[in-house]
């Protein structure tokens, strides 16, 4: 394959991934790695390097929009980033010491979860718990967010559990080169009882910082190859930008089903190839 053809195919695949990721709110990173590894036979270490960089691009690029909506909570984000960045470094170091088969299989399992979420989960109603527990109050994590034009107060609980889950989310991010937004949302929404909207936007805000922590490790190990990462980053950005423009008109339900089926197929391929030792 010539460099021009490779670059064009990767750009197109990444643009579709960024577009679908932005429309469904699931992020594009999760399909980049299997697309590169399965369709183009790219070594998984290059694939996770390129994917990680694209994750930073979409997270940082969307940050201003999320703040404007008034949902994200910078104190919660910053506190939990201590956990995600430490986890991310550990995960990135681990990526160099496990075989690519293991990475492929773990990746497949994460994809199964993403497919399930895309196919079956509706966005839960945000119900705010008003009172923080002792630690949440001492850390001043509670805040308010807009509901029907008014500001609804919310409290934060179970900080240690959330912190521990964030170590895991960071480690997965560093091991697989993904944003692991789903796990971040679970830590905040389920464990810490933070309203769903606040959890998703704060998670998006944290993803870039988490990814930057493993990027240093990836860079020094040579996982970030400019010839592969260039079309991935530009493609994902272009696709995500387009996604924000058509959001209002798109039939998101149908798209989620299409996305879910694609992700499930990729999951099976990754797991089968991982066990067969072909990745």
């Amino acid at each position: 394959m010539t460099a021009l053809i490779f670059t064009s195919i990767v750009f197109a695949l990444s643009a579709v991934a960024g577009f679908l990721g932005s429309l469904t709110g699931l992020g594009g990173g999760v399909v980049i790695v299997p697309a590169l590894a399965l369709a183009l036979g790219v070594d998984i270490k290059y694939a996770i390097g390129a994917s990680l960089v694209s994750v930073i691009a979409t997270s940082s690029g969307a940050a201003a929009a999320y703040v404007r909506e008034g949902f994200s909570n910078i104190r919660i984000g910053m506190l939990l980033e201590i956990a995600t960045t430490l986890g991310a470094i550990a995960g990135a170091v681990l990526a160099a010491h496990v075989t690519t088969h293991v990475i492929a299989i773990v990746f497949g399992l994460v994809l199964v979860q993403a497919a399930y979420q895309s196919l079956f989960k509706a966005e839960p109603e945000s119900t705010a718990i008003v009172e923080s527990d002792v630690l949440g109050a001492r850390l001043r994590l509670g805040s308010d967010y807009p509901v029907d034009g008014r500001r609804q107060r919310y409290g934060v609980r179970n900080v240690p559990t959330g912190f521990a889950l964030m170590l895991g989310a960071g480690a997965l991010s560093g091991l697989l080169g993904i944003g692991s937004g789903a796990l971040k949302v679970i830590a905040m929404d389920r464990a810490m009882k933070i309203p769903f909207k606040v959890s998703t936007t704060t998670s998006n805000f944290m993803i870039g910082v988490t990814a930057a922590a493993s990027a240093g490790v990836y860079l020094s190990r040579g996982y970030i190859d400019p010839r592969i990462t260039m079309p991935v980053m530009l493609g994902v950005l272009a696709g995500a930008f387009l996604g924000t423009k058509v959001l209002v008109h798109a039939r998101v339900r149908t798209l989620r089903i299409v996305f879910g089926v694609v992700v499930l197929a990729l999951a099976i391929e990754m797991i089968v190839n991982g066990f067969a030792g072909r990745i």
Binding site: M1, T2, A3, L4, F6, T7, G41, V42, D43, Y46, V53, I56, A57, S60, G61, A63, A64, A65, Y66, V67, R68, G70, S72, I74, R75, M78, L79, E81, I82, T85, L86, A88, I89, A92, L139, R140, G208, V209, A211, A212, A213, S214, A215, G216, V217, L219, S220, R221, G222, Y223, I224, D225, P226, R227, T229, M230, P231, M233, L234, L237
Partner: protein, 121 residues
Amino acid sequence: MDDRRLELIIGNLLRAGVLLAAAVVLFGGVLYLASHHADRVSYRHFSAGGDAIQSVGGVLQSAAHLDSEGLIQLGLLLLIATPVARVALAVVGFALEKDRLYAVVSLIVLLILAFSLWRAI
């Protein structure tokens, strides 16, 4: 200066950083394709690319020589720097708000990021 205003400023800076990084990557990418479009490529087997793309110093050096891969990598370094800048700005912002607890929390995150990027320097 309240949280929201601070965050909006940071958010806009981040977006500017991403756009700048994308422009540099695009420039490097055009140069790369102009001279290498007919190269046969295969990335089936991982092999580390060498100092020119693996260390900050090496990247700066090859970008300064207008090497296409060095330029792309410079753009990617700028992109990686945007969340780091965001945390650094949060340290300053919380300090200005006289919120000592979260100035320290942000500083810890910044130190972890510095530690991670340290080996690449």
